[in-house]
Symmetry: C2
C-alpha cells in the first residue's frame, strides 16, 4: 500500500543547479569525465533498483525479521533479501564509488551518497548489509598493507564478500576504551583473538559467501583506555592464496537481538574464540584507523535519517491527497461531504515539516559528499584542506541533525495518517521505528554533539567553523541588497551572528569548566544544523526566485518550502540558543542520589 | 529487568501540599469524610496492585500480543491478563470512584486519576480494558434511563462487565459526521444496528463475561453530518431481567490490528449485523452524549502519557546510576576506569527532561481531577461553574500536552540507554512505541488544539482562559516581591503576558480567516501547556523553598527540577510563539498538486 519514488528531480536540482556539480567535477582529475548525462543515467537506474527491487521487501522483511539457528549458529535474512543482494552485486552497485584499481567504477562519492539515500528510503534494514561492507572497503583501502588490499578489496568491491565493524562490547559502547577483547600474537605474524562483541550489524547472514570482520581488540600489555586498542581483519572464512574460501574461523554468532526496528537487519552477538586475525594498520592505533570507517558510517547514518524522512513524506502526501475528513473553512468543495485532508492547515504543517527537512538534508548531504570528493581528489592542496575541514565540521551535523530530523519527520508523517498510521498495514509506523536507531548507533547524537563542539570547534579555536561562516557571510554580502532575497538573507545573517556569539560564550565558559561544553553541546549542534539549513535554503531560494516564472512548478514549490522553513522551522533556534546558554548548573546541581 | 515503583511521595506532595486536598474535600459533601489517611492507604494499595500485579505482565504481554480466532471470532488476551483482571475486580478497584448507589466506593476522581497514572505506568495495554469500561459507566450514568442505569451500571461498577466506545469507521475517524452505521427502530422500542466499526479497543476479549458496547449510528432519515448521529447501548450478550446473560447479540469481531505498540490491547474490527441496541439519550444527539465519555477518555489518555513518562524516567535513572561509560570532567572517581553516566551533563538533561515533564504533568492532572470533583460536588454554583470552565479549558491540554510530552520523555529515556534502549530486553523501547498512540486516539492532538483554541478560547471570547489567567496573576501579585521567588515569578509573569497577547493576535486574525486558527493551534496549545506548567512549578517551588531546610531532600529535588524546567523546557515557548504567529500563508500558499 506504501509507495516510493526516487526524488530524482530534487537530487538533480541540488547537484547541478545549487552546487554546479559538472563544473566541480571537471576540477577533479579522477572525475573529470563524469558528466551530467552519466550521473543522470546512474541515478535513474539506481532509483529503479531501490523502488522496484528493495522497496517491496521492506514491509515483509520487517514483519518476518531475521532467523537465528542455534545449532548451526547461522542467520537467515528475510525472504527475498538474498536475491535482492544478488541483483545488487550483478548490477555492479557495490562497486559504484570504488577505486577502479580494485574493480570499482570510480564514480564520485556524491553520486554514491545519493544512491544510498534511495536505498535507505526503500529499505534501511537491507541497506545495512552492503553499507557496512563499503565502510570495511574504505578502512582497508586507507590502512591495509598491499597484501591485505589485494586479498580483500576486490571481493568487497564486487560485493562477493561483505564486512562488519566489531566494536561494541557489553560494558563498552560509547566508551570503547573499556573494551576487553584480546589479541595474542602468533609466530606467523597473525593473532588469535578472543572476546565477545555485541550489536554487530550483519555479524552473521546469508547474503554473501564471506564476511570481513574488522575487530577492535587489545594486544598483550597494551596501555589502558583508547590508546591500547588495535584493529584486526578477522574473516569468517580464511581466504586462500587464490582467493577461494578456506577454513571457518571461530568467530560465531551466539544470538540476534529483538529490536524496535530495522528488524530485517541481523544485530548479532559475536563470540571470538581464538579467531585468527591480522593487524590492520599500526598496533594500538586501531581507534584512529577505525575512525575512517566510522566517519563514512556516520555520513551513512545521516543518509538513513534522510532516506526515511523522504519516504515518510511521500507516503503522507499520498494519504493526505486521498483521505477525506472534515471541511476546510477556506477551501471547502461544496459537492463533497468532506475535503481531502491536505486542505487543512495543520496537516500541511506536518507535511511541510517533513518536506523541508528532506530538502534541507539533501542539500547538506550533497554538499558534504562533494567536499569529500574534493578532499580526496582536488589537485590544489588548499582546496583539499578546506574541504577536509568542512567534512570534519559537518560530519557530526549530518549524523545527528539529519537523524533527529528523521525522527521528527517520520513521526509527523505518521500523525498525518491518524489511527491508520499506528497499524502496520500502512507502513509508516515502521519508518518511525527504523528511524529511532539512527540517533543511537555510530556514536549517539550526544557523542556527535560533543565531537562537534569540543573537538571540531573549541579545540580548533573555531577555525573550521569560520570556513563555513565565510561562505555564509559571502552569500549575505552578495545578496543582502537584493530586495526579493531579503526574506531569506536577513534571518540567515541573523542566525549566523548568533552562532558566532554563542560559540564564543560557550568557549569562554568551557575554559573554566569543561562540563559547560557538555551541557551546551546537544542544543548547540541543532543550532549549527539550522545555520547550515538556512544557508542552503537561501541558496536554493535564490535559484528558485530566478526561475519561478520559467513555467516549471518545481521552482515554485522550492520557494514555498524555503519560506516554510524560515517561518516555521528556523525558529527552533530561539529555543535552542536559550537552552545552550543556560549553562551546566541546572543539570549538575542536583545530587545523583536525588534522582 | 525493568522496574516500577508508584511515585507516592510526589502524588501526596501535589495532592496535600500543593492543592490542599483535605481542605478542598471537606467542602464537598460527597467527600467530606475522605481524609488523608484513607487516601494514603488507597494509594499505597493501588501502587502495590500496579507494580506487583500489572507491571510484571507488561513486557510479556507486548511480546505475546492478543490472539484472534477466526472460527469463533474470539480474542484471547496475553497470558496472565485475565487473572490480573480478576484481582482488579476482587479488589474492588473498578468501583473506586463510582457512585455508591450502584455499588461504587464513592472516592473522589482525584484519587482514581492517581490510580490510573499508576496503572498506565505499569501496563498501558492492560489498562485500556477497565479504562474504557469506566467511560461507559460515566456515559450511561449521565444519559441512561433509570432502567438502563439499573441494568448496566452495577455490572460495570463491579467490573463483571466491561465497555467499549464504537465510534470510528474506516472512512470516518476524526470526522464522525461521515459515519454510516444504521439503526432501524423495532416495534419493541429497541433498534437493529448494522455497520462496520474499526479501531475498537477491547471490542472483543476474554477478561469479562459481557461487553457493553456504546455505538454511534444513524437513525433512518437522520440529518447528514454530526447532527444525525445517535448513541446506542449494544451489549455483547443481551442481559435478562435478572441480570444474567441471555442471547449472543450479532456484534462480532472480524479481525484485530497489528500495531506499533499497546500490542496487548485488542484493537478490533467490529461487524454489527442487525445487532440489537437501545437508544442512549436523545435521538440525533449521540455525539453530545458520547462527549461525556470522550472527555473522560481524553483525561484518561493524558494519564497514559503521564504514566509512561514516569515509568520511562524511573528506568532511565536506574540505568544511568549503574552504567559506567567515559570519564566525567568534573566528577571523575579516580579509582574507576569510567564514571556512572549520570555524572555526564547531557545524560542529566535527558533524565531531567523526563522528570520535569512527569512532575509538571502530575500537578496539572491532579489539578484538573480536583476541578472535576468540585464541578460534580461543590455546593456553591459559582465554584461549580468555575471548575467546569477550567476542566473544559484544560482537558485538551491534558490530552495533547501530556501525550506529546510522553513521546518526548520516553524517547529521551530510551536515549539514556544507548543501544540497549533499542532492544526489547530492557523494556524502554516499548514505552516509546506504546506512547505514540496517545497522540492519535480520542481525537488527534491537532483536534485537541483546534478544540482548545477554537471552541474553548476564541468562541468563548477568552472567558475560560481569563479564569486560569486570574490564578496566575494572583500568584504573581502575591510572590512578585519575594526575593527567593524572583527566578520563578518573573518568567511566569512573562509567559502569562505573552499568552494574553498571542491569544488576542490570533483571535483578530482568525476573524478574517478561520484557517489562521488552524495554522496556529498546535503551537498555541503547547504554549498554553507551558503557561500551566510554569504556574504549577512556581507554586511547587514556593513550597519547596519554604521547606528546603527541613532536612527532607524531597524539597531540594523539587527545587532543582523546577529550576531545570524554567531554564531548559520553558524556552520552548520562544519557538512556539514564533510558529504560532507566523500565520497561515506559509502553510496554505503552496498548491496541493505541488506536494
Amino acid at each position: 500500500m506504501s509507495i516510493y519514488q526516487a526524488p530524482l528531480r530534487d537530487m538533480q536540482f541540488v547537484m547541478f543547479e545549487v552546487f554546479n556539480l559538472e563544473e566541480e567535477l571537471k576540477q577533479l582529475p579522477a572525475h573529470a569525465e563524469t558528466n551530467r548525462e552519466l550521473i543522470d543515467q546512474v541515478l535513474e537506474e539506481a532509483g529503479k533498483f531501490a523502488s522496484e527491487v528493495l522497496f517491496p521487501l521492506n514491509q515483509p522483511g520487517d514483519a518476518e525479521g531475521c532467523h537465528y539457528d542455534q545449532a548451526t549458529k547461522s542467520v537467515t535474512t528475510p525472504k527475498g533479501f538474498k536475491e535482492a543482494y544478488q541483483k545488487f552485486v550483478e548490477g555492479g552497485w557495490a562497486a559504484l564509488a570504488c577505486d577502479p584499481k580494485y574493480g570499482g567504477q570510480g564514480l564520485p562519492i556524491v553520486v554514491n551518497n545519493a544512491f544510498y539515500e534511495m536505498l535507505n528510503s526503500a529499505n534501511q534494514a537491507w541497506t545495512m548489509y552492503p553499507g557496512l561492507a563499503h565502510g570495511a572497503y574504505e578502512c582497508i583501502r586507507a590502512h591495509g598493507s598491499t597484501e591485505q588490499q589485494q586479498a580483500y578489496l576486490p571481493k568487497l568491491v564486487s560485493g562477493e564478500w561483505v564486512g562488519t565493524m566489531c566494536l561494541t562490547e557489553a560494558h563498552a559502547g560509547t566508551d570503547l576504551g573499556l573494551l576487553r577483547t584480546k589479541a595474542e600474537p602468533q609466530a606467523d605474524g597473525s593473532y588469535l583473538i578472543t572476546g565477545n562483541k555485541i550489536f554487530i550489524s550483519g555479524g552473521e547472514q546469508d547474503l554473501a559467501e564471506n564476511i570481513v570482520h574488522l575487530v577492535l581488540a587489545r594486544l598483550p600489555d597494551a596501555p589502558l583506555g583508547t590508546k591500547g586498542i588495535s584493529l584486526f581483519i578477522v574473516p569468517k572464512f580464511l581466504p586462500k592464496e587464490d582467493g577461494s574460501l578456506g577454513e571457518r574461523n571461530p568467530i560465531f554468532c551466539g544470538a540476534i537481538e529483538h529490536k524496535m526496528g530495522i528488524r530485517a537487519s541481523a544485530t548479532c552477538q559475536m563470540n571470538l574464540d581464538g579467531a585468527q586475525g591480522w593487524l590492520l594498520g599500526e598496533p594500538n592505533k586501531g581507534l584512529a584507523a577505525m575512525f575512517v570507517m566510522m566517519n563514512a558510517a556516520r555520513l551513512g547514518v545521516g543518509m538513513q535519517g534522510l532516506g526515511l524522512t523522504e519516504v515518510a513524506y511521500q507516503n503522507a502526501v499520498v494519504y493526505a491527497k486521498d483521505r477525506q475528513q472534515s471541511r476546510s473553512p477556506s477551501a471547502h468543495k461544496p459537492n463533497q461531504a468532506a475535503d481531502v485532508i491536505i486542505a487543512h492547515p495543520d496537516v500541511r504543517r506536518m507535511l511541510l515539516t517533513a518536506r523541508a527537512l528532506a530538502e534541507g538534508g539533501r542539500a547538506l548531504a550533497t554538499f558534504i559528499a562533494l567536499q569529500i570528493d574534493k578532499e580526496l581528489n582536488h589537485p590544489d592542496e588548499t582546496i583539499r584542506k578546506d574541504a577536509e575541514d568542512l567534512v570534519a565540521l559537518l560530519t557530526p551535523v549530518v549524523k545527528a541533525f539529519l537523524t533527529d530530523n528523521g525522527w521528527i519527520a517520520t513521526s509527523e508523517a505518521m500523525q498525518v495518517f491518524g489511527g491508520h498510521g499506528y497499524i502496520a498495514e500502512w507502513g509508516v509506523e515502521q519508518y518511525v521505528r527504523d528511524s529511532r536507531i539512527n540517533m543511537i548507533y555510530e556514536g549517539t547524537n550526544t557523542i556527535q554533539s560533543l565531537d562537534l563542539l569540543g573537538r571540531k570547534i573549541l579545540l580548533d579555536n573555531g577555525a573550521k567553523l569560520k570556513k563555513f561562516g565565510k561562505m555564509v557571510q559571502d552569500f549575505v554580502e552578495e545578496y543582502g541588497t537584493e530586495e526579493a532575497m531579503q526574506e531569506f538573507v536577513n534571518p540567515l545573517a541573523d542566525i549566523g551572528e548568533k552562532v558566532t556569539k554563542l560559540t564564543m560564550e560557550i568557549g569562554m565558559k568551557a575554559m573554566q569548566n569543561p562540563d559547560e561544553a557538555g551541557a551546551a553541546a546537544v542544543p548547540y549542534l541543532r543550532v549549527l544544523g539550522h545555520l547550515v539549513f538556512a544557508y542552503f535554503f537561501a541558496r536554493m531560494a535564490k535559484i528558485a526566485l530566478d526561475k519561478q516564472d520559467s513555467g516549471d512548478d518545481f521552482y515554485k514549490a522550492k520557494l514555498h518550502t524555503a519560506r516554510f522553513y524560515f517561518a516555521r522551522l528556523l525558529p527552533e533556534t530561539a529555543m535552542l540558543i536559550r537552552q545552550a546558554r543556560s549553562g551546566a548548573q541546572n543539570l549538575l546541581a542536583m545530587e545523583a542520589s536525588l534522582f
